[in-house]
C-alpha cells in the first residue's frame, strides 16, 4: 500500500492510497469517486508516461508520497456542430458578389477605358438590366440589323457575367461586337487601339440598345430606353429680325453642360447649353437669319444623363483640346427651373429632385448604403462621397465627364 497525492486541475487530493496488488484500473475508480471523471477519460501522468489500466505497479516504481497528475473532464464533452459555417473562401462566385457588396471590374483591353466605364455605368441601372434579360436571342425583328442584335446580346451577356463574378472580367466578346458595329472604335494608332470618347460610345450604345429593345415589341414598355434615359425638350425658336416664332419638341438622351468662362457650376452650364443660336433660312425674310433657340425640359427620365462638354476642336492645331475648367456639381441636382411651364405645373408638389448616381468618366457607381465604388478598369476601389465631388475638374486630376442622376421618387 502506497499513499500518493494526485493533482487534478487546481485541486490536490492528498493521501490517496494505492493498492499495488490491484490493477491501476482500481486506482482510477478511486479517483472517479473523488473527481467524477470516468476512468476512460482519466489521463494519469507518471514520470513522462500515461498510466495504463493493466500496468504493473511494481514496474512503474511509484514511490511513497509521490505526486501524480491527472487530466480529464467530468463535464459533458463538446461536440462539433453538425453544420460548420460557410466561409467566403468556399463560396461560389455568384454568392461572393453578394457578400462583397459590389460586382466585378473589367479588364482594360488596350485603351478601352471609355468602353469599360460606359459599361459599368449602364450596368448599374437595374431597369436596363431587366429589360435586357427579356431580350431573347432569337427575338430579332426585321428592323434591326444583325450587328445591332449581336451587340445587344453581347451587352446582356456581359452584364450577366459582371453580376456573377468577383474577379475582373475581360469583355472580349462585347468589344469585338462593338467594333463590328461601330468600326471607328477599332481605329489603330501605331499598332495600338486609340483612345476614344466615352460620350460617343455611350451615345452609340444607347442608340443601338434602344433600337433593339424597341423592336422586341414587348407591349408594356414600348420604348424602354426612352423611358429610362430619354429627355423631352420643348424649344422655342425665335428670330429677332423677323419676329417669327415657332415651337418644336425633340427627345435627347443627354443634356449637355457647356463650359465657358462664366460657367462655374453645372447648373449654369446646363442653362447655357439650353440656349443656342442657329442660322436658318427665314421664310419671311427670304434669306438666312439668326434664330435663337431656347429649350426647356418637358419630360424627365428616370435617369438624367449629363455630359460635360470638355472637348472642343482647336482649329489652329487641328486637335481636340480638353477644357480643364472646374465645374462644381452637386450630388443632388435640382432642375426645376430648367423645366417647361407645363412640366413645372405637374411637378409643383413633389418637386422632383434628382440624385447623382453616376459619374461616368471613372465609372462611378453608388451603392445602396451611400458608399461609392471606383471602377478603375479591373480594380474596384471604394470611395467616399467627398471624393466624388472632388472630380469637378480644375486641375490635372480625374474629372467628371458624364454624370447620371437618378430620379428620387418622392412618395406622394
Amino acid at each position: 500500500m502506497i499513499t500518493v497525492s494526485v493533482k487534478w486541475q487546481k485541486e490536490l487530493f492528498k493521501d490517496v492510497e494505492i493498492d499495488t496488488t490491484q490493477s491501476p484500473y482500481v486506482f482510477k475508480c478511486q479517483l472517479y469517486d473523488l473527481t467524477g471523471v470516468p476512468p476512460v477519460r482519466q489521463k494519469i501522468m507518471v514520470k513522462g508516461g500515461l498510466l495504463k489500466d493493466d500496468a504493473d505497479w511494481s514496474a512503474l516504481g511509484v514511490k511513497e508520497g509521490q505526486k501524480l497528475m491527472m487530466m480529464g473532464t467530468a463535464d459533458e464533452i463538446i461536440k462539433a456542430p453538425e453544420k460548420g459555417p460557410v466561409f467566403v473562401e468556399d463560396l461560389p462566385e455568384e454568392e461572393l458578389v453578394v457578400a462583397m457588396g459590389h460586382s466585378a471590374g473589367l479588364f482594360n483591353l488596350g485603351n478601352t477605358c471609355y468602353m469599360n466605364s460606359t459599361v459599368q455605368c449602364l450596368h448599374s441601372v437595374p431597369e436596363l438590366k431587366s429589360a435586357l434579360v427579356k431580350y431573347s436571342h432569337s427575338g430579332r425583328s426585321n428592323d434591326v440589323d444583325q450587328s445591332s442584335h449581336m451587340l445587344t446580346i453581347a451587352t446582356r451577356d456581359l452584364f450577366n457575367e459582371l453580376d456573377k463574378s468577383v474577379k475582373p472580367v475581360a469583355p472580349m466578346q462585347f468589344w469585338m461586337v462593338l467594333r463590328k458595329k461601330y468600326p471607328q472604335f477599332g481605329q489603330l494608332h501605331n499598332g495600338v487601339f486609340m483612345q476614344q470618347d466615352a460620350e460617343e460610345c455611350w451615345t452609340q450604345l444607347l442608340y443601338t440598345l434602344s433600337q433593339s429593345l424597341k423592336s422586341t415589341g414587348s407591349s408594356e414598355i414600348p420604348d424602354a430606353l426612352k423611358a429610362l434615359f430619354g429627355i423631352e425638350l420643348v424649344s422655342r425658336v425665335h428670330c429677332q429680325e423677323s419676329g417669327e416664332e415657332s415651337s418644336e419638341t425633340e427627345s435627347v438622351y443627354s443634356l449637355k453642360c457647356h463650359i465657358s468662362q462664366e460657367v462655374n457650376h453645372l447648373h449654369e452650364g446646363l442653362k447655357h447649353a439650353l440656349k443656342s443660336e442657329l442660322e436658318k433660312a427665314s421664310p419671311s425674310l427670304g434669306r438666312s437669319a439668326i434664330y435663337l433657340k431656347e429649350s426647356r425640359i418637358n419630360g424627365l427620365p428616370r435617369y438624367l444623363t449629363i455630359q460635360f462638354v470638355r472637348f472642343f476642336w482647336k482649329r489652329e492645331s487641328n486637335q481636340k483640346a480638353k477644357i480643364l475648367r472646374k465645374v462644381d456639381y452637386p450630388l443632388e441636382l435640382d432642375v426645376y427651373d430648367l423645366c417647361s411651364d407645363d412640366l413645372c405645373k405637374r411637378l409643383e408638389t413633389p418637386r422632383q429632385v434628382l440624385r447623382d448616381e453616376e459619374g461616368i468618366k471613372l465609372g462611378l457607381k453608388a451603392r445602396k448604403d451611400g458608399k461609392w465604388i471606383e471602377y478603375d478598369d479591373d480594380n474596384p476601389i471604394a470611395q467616399r462621397e467627398e471624393d466624388i465631388t472632388k472630380l469637378s475638374g480644375g486641375g490635372d486630376w480625374h474629372m467628371a465627364y458624364i454624370c447620371m442622376y437618378k430620379a428620387r421618387v418622392i412618395p406622394m
Binding site: 493533482k7 487534478w8 486541475q9 487546481k10 477519460r41 489521463k43 501522468m45 507518471v46 514520470k47 513522462g48 508516461g49 500515461l50 505526486k67 501524480l68 497528475m69 487530466m71 480529464g72 473532464t73 463535464d75 459533458e76 464533452i77 463538446i78 461536440k79 462539433a80 456542430p81 460548420g84 459555417p85 460557410v86 466561409f87 467566403v88 473562401e89 468556399d90 463560396l91 457578400a99 462583397m100 457588396g101 458608399k371 471604394a382 470611395q383 467616399r384
Partner: protein, 884 residues
C-alpha cells in the same frame, strides 16, 4: 587664453620694441617667478654635469623635487618639464658618460620622466630609463607618467613576444603599475595593461572591496569586443573575482553567459544562504535553462524541492497574474478591441456578412497573443451555453480545416504557464474526432508547458504516443508540442522518440521538417553529435525535388540550432555540410554560420554574411535569405553592432535582389524585437507599402515584432491604417492583424526580447523560437499562408513578462517604491555614478521597457540580486531607521 604663454601679448606690442622682441620674447613673457625657476633648473642641469658627486646629488634631488611638486596638473605640460626640454639631449649624452652608480640611476629616473614629453614616437625612452633607474615608487611621478609607461610597456611587450625575449623586468613594472592603478580608481587602465601583457590573473591579487565592482563591470563589458578566446578568459577572471567577493548573483550571470554548468554549480555550493540560493533559482528560471539541483547544492530535501520549484518556473503564471491585476488589465480583450476599426474613417472593411476563414484565423492569433497567459478571453474560454455545446467550440469551428489546429492551440496560449488549468481546458479537444483539432490540442499541451518543468512530465506523457500516429497533422502537433515544451532540456527520452522519425523513409517531408526543428530546440546550443548526425542523414536522404520544397529549410535550421552561439564548434558539421546536394549546400552553410555566431557580435562573420548578400545571383538560389537574417542574428549582441547592421541592411534594400529585400524587414524585426526604434519603424512603414507583396508582408509582421508587447501607439496607428489600405488583400490583411496582435502581446505586459539581465544574457531557447519563426517567414506564401500558420506559435518560446516583481523572504509579493528610468552606461566611470536617467518612481510590480533599469527607492530593503528584473527577493535592511 591660449595655453601656450609664448603666444600671448603679441598683438599690442609698441613698435619701437619690435626689434628687441624677437630676442627677448621668451624672457619677456615669463613672470619673474617662472624666470627664476628656469634659471634655477638651468643651474641644476649644469651642476648635474659637475664632477663633484656631492653637488651632482644635490642638483639631481632638487630637480626631482621640482618635477614632483609640479606634476599635479594635467591640463598643460608642467613648467619644470617644459624648461628642461632643451636640456634633455644634454642630460642624455651626459648619462651615457657616467659611471654606474646610484647617481646614474637617479639621473635615469629623471630622464625617464623627461622622456614623457621628449621621447620620439616609438623610442620608448621613458620605459628604457625607468628600467635603468632606481625603481622607486612609481606613482610619485604622477598619473600621466604611469599611463605613458603603461603604453610603452604594451608596445615593448609585443616586440619582445616576437623576439621571444625575456619579459621578467617588464612584468615587475606591470605589477607596480597595476597596483598603482587599482588604488587610484583607474581599473580600466589596469585591466587594459594586463590584457596587453596577457596576464589577467594578476588582477585577482589587486582587487579589493572598493574596486572589484568597477573592475568586473569593465571586464564584462569589454569581453563583448574581444576576439575569442580572450573574451572567455576575461569573463573567467570576472567570475573568479565575483566569487572571491561573494557577489554570487553576478558570478552566476557570468556562469550562464559562459554556459558553464560547473560554475553554476560552484555558485550554489559556495553559498550557504538559502534565501540567496532562491534568488539564484529565479535567475536560472528567467534564463530558461533546465537545471537539476543535487544534494551538494542544497542538502535539505525540502529546501531543494522549494528551490527546484523556482527553477521550474511553477510560480511564473501566478506572478504574471499578480502583475496583471496590479496594472488592472485582467479584463479580456476581443480582436475587435485591438483592430479599433471605428477609428478608421470611410472605407472600413465591408460589414462582412459571411465568415472569412483567413480573417477568422487572424482573429484566432490576435486573441491568443493579446490574452496570452491571462486565463480568460472572449473567444475560446467564454462559458459554454447549453444550446450550442459551448461557444468555445463555436469559435473553434469558425476556423477551417488546418485553421482549427491553430485555434485549438490558441486556447493553451491563453492558459500559458498555468499547466493545471491549461491541461484541464485542453482535455476536451482530445475527445473530438477531428484530426486538426487533436493536432492543435497536442501542440497546445506543448505551449502551455513552455518554460515550465514538472516532475510528472505531462507533455511527454500526453504527447509521446501521438508522435508515431498515422495522420501527419497529428504527428506534427505532437512533435512541435514536444519541441516547445522541452526546448533546451536535452531530454534523452525526447531524442529517442523523435530521432527515429528522421530516418523513417515513409514519413512525409513536413513531419521530418518539424522533427528536425523540435530536436534542434530540445538540444539547442548543445552541439550534440548524435542529433546532428540524425539531421544530417535526413538531409542527405532527401530527393532533389524535396530539397526544393519550402519546408526543407527547417532541416538546416534544426541543425543550426544545435550550435546556437557555439561559434567554432560548428566547424566539423559545417565541413560535412559542404558535401550536401548543391541545392541546399549554401543554404545550409549560411544557416549554420549564422546560428553558430548568433549573439556574438562577431564583426568578421557579419562581413562574411554581407559578402554573400552582395552577389547578384542568376540561378534561383535561396541562401541569401538566411544570410540576411544571419546578419541580424550575429549583430544583435550589442547596441553599436545593431546600429551598424541597420545601416548595412538599408544598403541591401537599395542594391539587393528581391530575395534579399524580402528578408531585410525580418532582419530589422529581429534586431529591434520588442524595442521599437523610430528609424526602424519608419523604414518598415515604408516597406509595408512595397510593390512586392512579400516584402510588404515581411515588413508588416516585423512592425509587429518590433512593437511586440509595447502597446506602441505609433505602430498601432500605422497598422490600423494598413488594415484599411489592404482591406481587399486578404493575405496582407492577415499579416496586419497578426502584427496588431503582437503589438498588444499580453496586453503590453510581455516582451519577445531574448536578451535579459540588462541585455547581458541571451536566452537561447527564446532566440531559437524567434529565428525558427523568421526562417519560416522567408517563404510567407508557402508556409504561413499555407497550412503551417501555427509556426507563429514558436514565438511562445520568447514570451516573458517584462516586469520587476519584488518578493519578501517568504516569496510573497512585496510592493516597494522603485525608480525606473533609462539605463546609463557607467562602464569605466569612477566613483558611484548615477545609473539611470529620466526616472519615475513607481511601486512594484512594475513594467520595464527596452533599455530601462530599475533601482530601489527605499533603503528599507536590500535586493538579493543587483539586477532588478523579473523576480527579485528583498531582505530587510538591518541598519534601516525610519526617517521622520
Amino acid at each position: 587664453m591660449a595655453p601656450d604663454p609664448n603666444a600671448s601679448g603679441s598683438g599690442s606690442v609698441p613698435s619701437k620694441e619690435t626689434k628687441r622682441k624677437k630676442d627677448d620674447k621668451k624672457e619677456e613673457d615669463l613672470s619673474d617667478e617662472d624666470l627664476a625657476l628656469k634659471q634655477q633648473l638651468e643651474l641644476y642641469v649644469e651642476r648635474v654635469q659637475d664632477p663633484d658627486p656631492g653637488l651632482q646629488k644635490v642638483a639631481l634631488e632638487s630637480m626631482r623635487q621640482e618635477i614632483r611638486t609640479s606634476t599635479s596638473s594635467m591640463t598643460s605640460v608642467p613648467k619644470p618639464l617644459k624648461f628642461l626640454r632643451p636640456h634633455y639631449g644634454t642630460l642624455k649624452a651626459y648619462y651615457e658618460t657616467m659611471q654606474d652608480s646610484d647617481l646614474k640611476k637617479y639621473l635615469a629616473d629623471i630622464l625617464s620622466v623627461l622622456a614623457l614629453t621628449m621621447s620620439a614616437e616609438g623610442e620608448r625612452d621613458s620605459l628604457k630609463y625607468r628600467l635603468l633607474g632606481s625603481e622607486g615608487e612609481i606613482g610619485s611621478w604622477g598619473h600621466e607618467y604611469v599611463r605613458n609607461l603603461a603604453g610603452e610597456i604594451a608596445q615593448e611587450y609585443a616586440k619582445r613576444q616576437i623576439e621571444e625575449a625575456p619579459i621578467d623586468d617588464l612584468m615587475e613594472l606591470v605589477q607596480q603599475i597595476v597596483a598603482f592603478h587599482m588604488k587610484h580608481n583607474a581599473e580600466p587602465e589596469a585591466v587594459d595593461l594586463l590584457m596587453e601583457v596577457e596576464d589577467l590573473d594578476l588582477l585577482i591579487e589587486h582587487v579589493d572591496n572598493t574596486n572589484f565592482k568597477r573592475t568586473c563591470l569593465y571586464l564584462t563589458s569589454s569581453a563583448r569586443y574581444l576576439p575569442g578566446p580572450d573574451d572567455m578568459l576575461v569573463l573567467d577572471i570576472a567570475y573568479t573575482i565575483y566569487v572571491k567577493f561573494e557577489e554570487y548573483p553576478n558570478a552566476l550571470q557570468i556562469a550562464l553567459y559562459l554556459d558553464n554548468m560547473q560554475y553554476v554549480k560552484q555558485v550554489f555550493t559556495s553559498c550557504d544562504d538559502l534565501l540567496r540560493k532562491k534568488q539564484f533559482c529565479y535567475i536560472l528560471a528567467r534564463h530558461g535553462i533546465t537545471f537539476e539541483l543535487d544534494d551538494e547544492m542544497a542538502a535539505d530535501d525540502d529546501d531543494r524541492e522549494a528551490l527546484q520549484d523556482i527553477i521550474n518556473n511553477t510560480k511564473l503564471s501566478e506572478g504574471y497574474l499578480t502583475l496583471a491585476r496590479d496594472i488592472e488589465v485582467m479584463e479580456p480583450k476581443s480582436p475587435e478591441d485591438i483592430y479599433k476599426a471605428h477609428l478608421l474613417e470611410g472605407r472600413a472593411s465591408a460589414g462582412a456578412s459571411v465568415d472569412s476563414a483567413r480573417q477568422n484565423l487572424a482573429a484566432t492569433f490576435v486573441n491568443a497573443f493579446v490574452n496570452a497567459g491571462f486565463g480568460q478571453d472572449k473567444l475560446m474560454t467564454v462559458p459554454s451555453d447549453s444550446s450550442s455545446g459551448g461557444s468555445s467550440a463555436n469559435w473553434l469551428f469558425k476556423n477551417k480545416e488546418h485553421g482549427k489546429t491553430s485555434a485549438a492551440a490558441s486556447l493553451s496560449m491563453i492558459f500559458l504557464w498555468d499547466v493545471d488549468a491549461g491541461l484541464a481546458q485542453i482535455d476536451k479537444y482530445f475527445h473530438l474526432s477531428d484530426n486538426h483539432v487533436i493536432s492543435g490540442a497536442l501542440l497546445g499541451v506543448g505551449i502551455v508547458n513552455c518554460g515550465i518543468k514538472n516532475d510528472c512530465e505531462p507533455a511527454l506523457a500526453l504527447l509521446g504516443d501521438y508522435v508515431d500516429k498515422e495522420d501527419p497533422s497529428i504527428r506534427i502537433g505532437a512533435i512541435m508540442g514536444l519541441g516547445i515544451a522541452y526546448a533546451g532540456s536535452q531530454n534523452e527520452q525526447i531524442r529517442s522518440k523523435l530521432a527515429p522519425i528522421l530516418n523513417d523513409a515513409k514519413a512525409p517531408l513536413d513531419v521530418i521538417a518539424f522533427t528536425a526543428i523540435s530536436l534542434g530546440l530540445v538540444y539547442v546550443g548543445s552541439c550534440n553529435e548524435e542529433v546532428a548526425q540524425a539531421i544530417i542523414f535526413a538531409l542527405m536522404d532527401r530527393s532533389e525535388s524535396e530539397l526544393g520544397e519550402p519546408l526543407t529549410r527547417l532541416l538546416p535550421l534544426g541543425l543550426g540550432l544545435l550550435y546556437l552561439g557555439k561559434q567554432e564548434r560548428v566547424e566539423a558539421t559545417a565541413e560535412v555540410s559542404k558535401t550536401f546536394n548543391e541545392k541546399i549546400r549554401k543554404y545550409c552553410d549560411m544557416t549554420l554560420l549564422s546560428c553558430a555566431y548568433a549573439g556574438t557580435g562577431n564583426v568578421l562573420k557579419v562581413q562574411n554574411l554581407l559578402g554573400h548578400c552582395s552577389q547578384h545571383l542568376d540561378k534561383a538560389e535561396t541562401h541569401q535569405g538566411p544570410a540576411v537574417l544571419g546578419i541580424a542574428m550575429v549583430a544583435m549582441a550589442e547596441e553599436l553592432g545593431i546600429e551598424m547592421a541597420i545601416r548595412s541592411l538599408e544598403h541591401l534594400l537599395q542594391y539587393g535582389e528581391q530575395n534579399i529585400r524580402r528578408a531585410v524587414p525580418l532582419a530589422l524585426g529581429l534586431l529591434c524585437i520588442s524595442n521599437p526604434k523610430v528609424n526602424v519603424m519608419d523604414t518598415l512603414s515604408r516597406l509595408s507599402h512595397d510593390t512586392d507583396s512579400e516584402v510588404a508582408m515581411a515588413a508588416v509582421i516585423s512592425l509587429g515584432l518590433i512593437g511586440a508587447g509595447t502597446n506602441n501607439a505609433r505602430i498601432a496607428g500605422m497598422l490600423r491604417n494598413l488594415s484599411s489600405y489592404y482591406y481587399k488583400d486578404a493575405s496582407l490583411l492577415f499579416f496586419v492583424r497578426v502584427a496588431q496582435g503582437l503589438v498588444h502581446l499580453g496586453k503590453g505586459l510581455l516582451t519577445l526580447n531574448p536578451y535579459h539581465s540588462e541585455r547581458f544574457l541571451l536566452c537561447p531557447t527564446a532566440l531559437a523560437g524567434i529565428i525558427t519563426m523568421l526562417h519560416a517567414c522567408l517563404d510567407m506564401k508557402a508556409i504561413i499562408l499555407g497550412k503551417y500558420h501555427y509556426v507563429l506559435y514558436y514565438i511562445v518560446l520568447a514570451m516573458q513578462p517584462r516586469m520587476l516583481m519584488t518578493v519578501d523572504e517568504n516569496l510573497k509579493t512585496l510592493s516597494v517604491p522603485v525608480r525606473v528610468g533609462q539605463a546609463i552606461d557607467v562602464v569605466g566611470q569612477a566613483g558611484r555614478p548615477k545609473t539611470i536617467t529620466g526616472f519615475q518612481t513607481h511601486s512594484t510590480p512594475v513594467l520595464l521597457a527596452a533599455g530601462d533599469r530599475a533601482e530601489l527607492a527605499t533603503e528599507k530593503y536590500i535586493p538579493l540580486s543587483p539586477i532588478l528584473e523579473s523576480f527579485v527577493i528583498l531582505k530587510e535592511n538591518p541598519n534601516y531607521r525610519e526617517e521622520h
